[in-house]
Amino acid sequence: VDRDSHMLACFPCAGQAIAAAWNLEGRAAVLLDAYAPFPIPALQRACSGFDKRIPVLAWTSGIVAAIAVFLLQYFSAVDYPYVVGGKPLFSWPAFLPVTVAVAMLMAVVVTFTTLMWMCRLPQLHHALFASRLYQDCDGDGIFLHICCDDVNPLIEWLRKEYPTSKIEVLACD
């Protein structure tokens, strides 16, 4: 985003934050992110596109793990020929429980690690945590992180349209 000034606007309820986010258009401002202690679909749509990487990677990794562990069982059963109750070395029905369990295990691990990667976590320090406005809200407010050319007209507009909102101009390094 090629703009100079950043500001944080805090709203007491989701409705106001959603309306402000959608009305930013045409005001030479960009919504960089929105912060709320619970998911708000309208704000998600306003600040991010739809990304399907987590489910795609999860299912793909599950299938790959299933194939890999099934092949591992096949080769190790043949490599170490141990006959049990006259069953064939390639006893494929008996290989299914481990195949399914490992597939799901891998899908779970990949889902969690992909989530961390997509959210860029762990990230114990973030500029947001230094904001006085964020610190004072005790996790109760709904915040819009806005980037714009000139904060003054935007602040004026926000104060007029949403008088209960609180605003902090963020220092940009």
């Binding site: 429980p97 369990a101 799901m104 989530l115 959210c119 996790g139």
Partner: protein, 451 residues
């Protein structure tokens, strides 16, 4: 007052008050009752450690594991604990998939219960191995002996099933806790607590981008939950049903075990919900309506379990196999008959009281029935493992075996460990998911046109 909000939240409670109330479960100082229960359960946990040390030092002979009941007490307890764990996961996941609003107040409790129950369940197979320090033999790794796991063995299936379930439950619980840890980080005042919650929250900042990915990951988890639960319980039941032992060798076992697991799990959630709502004064959030729904679920799965009992008896009779018929006659009239009949009283008789709405909505009655149901399910696991093997095909090997004092000590220890871990969890994290409740509040406000 809008109807949707009035259903799930006390009248007049706004969002900040809701958050404050839920955070209070963590912020409040430990009362005398907490210390008392923590002392008793901590003492029992120490007893578990003592028992484990003795058994590892002297051998599994202390446990009374012997032919013909080679699986004995440890496997009874494993199956029982795993059953409890599974329902926790399934309750949370299925209720989310089916968008049930009453999930928000109890999902954290169910997930935490699942986590600690699977820890208790995992202790026993290691114990039962006899030489737990060789447990890594179950892993498929290229060793110098060119030795691979025996893939046809249910013991190997168990290892992967329990590992899968442990990882799943940990991930699912932690995912749910992440936003609440972040909220607590932002609210607590003591520096050390800010640091602890700051590290636990991993830098989560409630960004809607985070929430977008969070919801995707959560959806994958809940879609995986049902197959994980069914597969893991199914694998545990196949430990028994793939053998030829009469009393074990039933094709009905996988669905029967899943239903039994859900029955005991719903019962445990109901019991914990009654205790927690009383202990933390959460009657306005975990309402009688929640208890009613939990009671209904208990009844549904109890009926499935009862059907499975009937089906087992029918199969034993219809197969015309003398060994199968003998197992049933022995269950009814043999040395373990009191166990069987007590199980019937708990799981078939008493549970019918749940047909009555007044019983389901009464915290005391529901808690008592949850307790008897859990006892009944434990007795069921006991009679499956003991009565099926103590008198099978070879009369020369028949014997009547009972658990030893060490068995009982370790079982009591695992109960203590479960309670102790739950108490520690209550000090660390909100027992009701804050972000789920706030989300429900927000949705109910939206549904009623906002206010």
């Amino acid at each position: 007052m809008h109807q949707e909000r009035a259903t799930w939240f006390p009248e007049g409670m706004d969002e900040p008050e809701l958050t404050k109330k839920l955070c209070h479960t963590v912020d409040a100082a430990n009362g005398l009752r907490w210390w008392l229960v923590a002392g008793i359960s901590g003492g029992l946990s120490l007893l578990l450690l003592l028992g484990l040390a003795q058994v590892f030092g002297q051998g599994v002979g202390l446990l009374g594991i012997n032919i013909p009941v080679a699986w004995g007490f440890p496997i009874v307890n494993t199956i029982w604990w795993i059953g409890i764990a599974h329902a926790g996961t399934l309750i949370s996941a299925v209720l989310l998939l089916t968008r049930q609003p009453w999930r928000a107040a109890i999902n954290r409790l169910a997930e935490a219960m699942a986590m600690f129950a699977i820890i208790c369940a995992g202790i026993y197979p290691l114990l039962h191995l006899g030489r737990p320090w060789l447990a890594y033999y179950l892993l498929p790794y290229p060793d110098t002996m060119d030795l691979w796991p025996q893939w046809r063995s249910p013991l190997v299936w168990d290892f992967f099933a329990i590992l899968c379930y442990l990882v799943f439950t940990s991930g699912f619980l932690y995912l749910s806790l992440l936003p609440d840890f972040a909220l607590l980080r932002d609210r607590v005042r003591q520096r050390w607590r800010q640091l602890v919650y700051g590290v636990l929250a991993l830098g989560w900042r409630h960004s809607q981008r985070h929430w977008h990915f969070y919801e995707q990951a959560n959806r994958v988890f809940v879609i995986l939950a049902a197959p994980v639960v069914v597969t893991v319980t199914g694998i545990i039941s196949m430990d028994l049903s793939v053998s030829l032992v009469p009393g074990y060798h039933f094709t009905i076992f996988p669905p029967y075990f899943v239903a039994g697991a859900l029955f005991s799990g719903f019962a445990t959630v109901a019991l914990l919900a009654v205790i927690i709502r009383y202990a933390y004064n959460l009657q306005g959030l975990i309402t009688r309506r929640h208890l009613d729904y939990l009671g209904r679920m208990m009844l549904v799965f109890a009926l499935v379990v009862d059907y499975a009992y009937g089906q087992e008896i029918f199969t034993a009779w219809y197969s015309a196999e003398p060994a199968y018929e003998q197992v049933y006659l022995d269950r009814w009239t043999g040395p373990y008959a009191p166990i069987w009949w007590s199980m019937i009283v708990c799981n078939v008789g008493l549970v019918q009281l749940l047909w009555f709405k007044t019983v389901r909505r009464s915290p005391v009655a529901l808690a008592l029935l949850a307790l008897t149901s859990n006892v009944g399910m434990w007795l069921e696991r006991f009679q499956i493992v003991f009565t099926s093997t103590h008198a099978d095909f070879m009369p020369s090997a028949w014997d009547t075996v009972w658990p030893t004092a060490w068995d009982w000590m370790i079982f009591a220890g695992s109960l203590g460990l479960f309670v102790f871990l739950l108490l520690l969890f209550l000090r660390l994290a909100p027992v009701v998911s804050i972000h789920d409740m706030r989300s429900l509040y927000h949705r109910s406000e939206e549904a009623s046109g906002g206010s």
